[in-house]
Subunit: 244 residues, 2 copies
DNA sequence: GTATAAACTTTGTCATGCCTAAGTTTTGTT
DNA sequence: AACAAAACTTAGGCATGACAAAGTTTATAC
């Protein structure tokens, strides 16, 4: 059985190496709230145990074994979040902190019971995919809201921050998973993006918009102003995550 | 914040001093699966922190402060058990182990959410009372099944063991919280007790019977053989614990 | 290209909580 | 009462995982 500390380090490295290629000592330390010296020590331990590779002065990278552990933790985390949301009705800004504590304590048996109870879900309350037991994740074909063109319509499918402030801000704007949006205006110089959300019109900054993932509707036949220079991901429409 | 270890010691001392007046080093060690030397060390620590009094060679006793912590832990434990039973449908033999792990990790906020979600329950799935936030517990007026007289009828309100084997045994006998029973026969010399449970007739040993608490029905007018030498507790009838 | 800053590692220390081995107190037996 | 066994404590040690301080490597600036 791995200690809670080791699990946290592996999760942190996984998250960091998903962005960049490698997880630096500094960033791991910041993420976990420990000093760099502690991180170096733990990275060496992880390397000795075969969970990571340590390239001195160059950061850490997980091995396949380490990745498997990381995906297992993410699975636990997201199932716990969904379970707490479904049963106790916790709002999305409250979920992360509690799941973070519980993910080290919940038995495998309980995780699988939750999985079945929740109807073998694919996505958590933030729209993030839940890894399957074997570590595979349903890919999401979505675009960053800040990359949408004027006139585009779509549905919010995920958000990438877990900061409660940010999530409450979105709630105040009426933005949640499944919200339908229409891009009304895009100010130049990374200025705010104006959206239609339900019956409200709101303005949102670029930084926030970049954290919101949207599945964009295929354009309808009606005349619309194209904006070809904006590149986007695939636009497959997907059902939103089921809430109760 | 108290460590999981400290919480476990306080719980163990509480349980032991509820039986006897004091919790001996040996018994604490057995309960927690550690050596006596470790217990002595921790008792001294608890005494230094004001959670317990240590009388060397005489065992430990919790202070008021320690008791408050213990009741808080019991509250958490029992609410978690009830929550897992209510949502995931865990059977009573599965509950204890998971709750034991979770009770150290669940936030106070989550505990109170569970409490409300469950409808401010008074009893856990084993029929044990759930301490209120201030530490008071609804007393249960019940008798040990092995002390019932021939012909007595009643309802199972609680069991006092948490051993999964024992609980599965009771399940096999059709005995659960709320089961109505009738004492058909009592063999002499601490022999088995024969019961009517629903439509089945079963025999149960004294040791098991002593762990089952029953609320005995007031005798009906019809003729019945009295057995005055058996003393019992009060016989107030109480609603059984609500299951979903 | 050299100096300085930033990132990183090494070394030694500390708290927690466990252990073993050895010594002490209490209890039980005769 | 005296001895042996059981219960208990003390002393010393170890693993984990954190830290600070000091030293090393890499990046940045000029």
């Amino acid at each position: 059985m791995l200690s809670a500390s080791i699990e946290d380090y592996i999760k942190a490295i996984y998250a960091l190496q998903t962005d960049r290629e490698t997880a630096s000592t500094k960033r791991i330390a910041e993420r976990l709230g420990v000093k760099m010296a502690s991180v170096t020590g733990m990275i060496k331990h992880l390397a000795a145990e075969g969970y990571a590779k340590h390239k001195p002065y160059r950061g850490a990278v997980l091995t396949e074994r380490g990745k498997r552990v990381a995906l297992g933790m993410i699975r636990r985390h997201r199932l716990i979040e969904l379970f707490l949301a479904s049963t106790l009705g916790l709002s999305w800004d409250e979920l992360h902190a509690d799941a973070e504590l519980l993910e080290h304590a919940v038995s495998d048996r309980l995780i699988e019971r939750m999985f079945e109870y929740l109807g073998r879900p694919q996505f958590d309350p933030h729209g993030s995919p839940i890894p399957s037991r074997d570590g595979s994740m349903t890919p999401r074909h979505s675009s960053r809201l800040d990359e949408l063109a004027l006139g585009d319509t779509g549905k919010v499918v995920a958000v990438s921050g877990r900061d409660p402030e940010f999530l409450r801000y979105l709630t105040d704007l009426n933005l949640r998973i499944g919200s339908k949006i229409l891009v009304r205006d895009r100010a130049p110089f990374n200025g705010p993006i104006t959206l239609r959300v339900g019956s409200r019109t709101i303005a949102i900054g670029h930084e926030a918009a970049a954290r919101i993932r949207v599945s964009v509707d295929a354009p309808t036949k009606g005349a619309r102003k194209p904006k070809p220079e904006v590149k986007r991901g695939s636009r497959t429409s997907r059902r939103a995550h089921k809430r109760r």
